[in-house]
Symmetry: C2
Amino acid sequence: MPNEFDLIRRFFHGPTSHTDLGVGDDAALLRPRADMQLAVSSDMLVAGVHFFADAEPGLIGWKTAAVNISDMAAMGAQPRWITLALALPEVDETWIAAMARGFRDCCEAYCVDWIGGDTTRGPLNLCATVFGEVPREVAVRRDGARHGDDVWVSGWPGMAALGLGYLQGRVDLVGDWVEPCLDRLHRPIPRVALGIALRGTATAMMDVSDGLLGDLAHILERSGVGAMLEETILPLGTLLAACKRTELANAALLGGGDDYELLFCVPREKRGQIEALGRHLELPLHRIGRILDKSGLWMQRGDGVCEAVAAQGFDHFSGVN
Amino acid sequence: MPNEFDLIRRFFHGPTSHTDLGVGDDAALLRPRADMQLAVSSDMLVAGVHFFADAEPGLIGWKTAAVNISDMAAMGAQPRWITLALALPEVDETWIAAMARGFRDCCEAYCVDWIGGDTTRGPLNLCATVFGEVPREVAVRRDGARHGDDVWVSGWPGMAALGLGYLQGRVDLVGDWVEPCLDRLHRPIPRVALGIALRGTATAMMDVSDGLLGDLAHILERSGVGAMLEETILPLGTLLAACKRTELANAALLGGGDDYELLFCVPREKRGQIEALGRHLELPLHRIGRILDKSGLWMQRGDGVCEAVAAQGFDHFSGVN
């Protein structure tokens, strides 16, 4: 049987387009462009926590790359390089080849060079670290939201949560919507072009991985502000079409994670600019509320009543112990 | 109980000295210096494979940082930044605090900024990614060894293997040598100053993590050369003092891993320069053989006879399936 070095050589090696030295030495070598900041992020995906252990390996590979690349989008950075460290309970060449293919497909879709990694024996675990470039002083952080900003979200967050609920037998979906929801769960699309387009415009941004409300709470906390969501403009249309239940659609939108859409704040006077950007990118951009000068997270109902809402982020440790 | 975000905030946050934005956003932001190449390496450490699950968490933290930083030393790069992604089977604040302290201690010893990471639930797994800077064209790769080079190794590789054997009850050690051998196993010392000093001098270099012969075989393969080791000059002194058995000392030296000493090749005419460097760094540097113009790995015995030797690298997958 092949040893780990053969595995690395066979499945991890591949062409790179902007890397001086890739897989095979003690380290990869690359040259960030002058006057750029380097954005760096790591995400670890664990079998049974982030994906089903028996999920298609190609989808596991795609998702591992995608959730990392999404962190670059969320900073307004251009993703450029990625590493993958991998623990495997056993050597299954078919599995490794398919996983590596999915990982590489996602990298290639975003012009990201896969520059190295590690393989070892252990419970199934994939850890990627991604590096992106962003011109100095334009990275979009979480701490810049200000009173007078609108709050926006891209796409239809909540579809991945409906897909997960369907797989777990907890949710019924209209037949035509099963595949689209599972696709959002398994093959998230990092919003790189949107993130880059929002440089200099968005005051704060992050990707929705743990649930819209929970993630918005991070922006509010870091920015020292509050927010009022408007119930009547929440993007429930697709979710309602998929599950036909208002309460479920609401829960999926506000509490579901794993869609990797971008949540961002933009000064109100640039509302037209964001609407035009959505048309240009052919990506629905939904205004969902506004930043307040008082703290807290609030919902303005259709009847005008405002009530405090609890952040319902998905916490990987909730329920443990 | 705290959620994962609280954990990150409490234990992973800390001062940085050369980072624009550290833990807490979608990505960290840093500025590599102009005209530098960035060296990047990831290593994943798994409980039961790379360390005992019940090992002291501070030592696990130190080792995770050290083995990554060692990859920078092996390229002649100055380590500068590191991320840590962590899967934990349960939330044990005492464990996390001690592990983080050990990780940070190692980072601080090498002026490395801990800039971010990830925490999730899962079987115990630590994955670090380290970034270092090296002036363009001077990184020491594995592929430059040439006929006429001497082969060198730093320190006393094999001590970590003796320490591991002792813990596993397979090896008896002389009393005074137990602690030093365990220390090499648990608290490896990345040879950063040596790696940087060898820029422009060493033709090929790597760190010994999988065993001296196995790792030398990687250099030979990448460089397209062979090597002759000389039995009479192998650095067995400390190992013999520790275990008193020649055969065991030989096996530990040639097949043991986990010492993270540097293995490097230098043109023969610079032998005096390396000897002076060892004195300057107060680090024993041992010449162990020479690069050949024919392929293969050979041992010249004391009686002058040369025989082929098999690379005995430690393979994380060996024995599986």
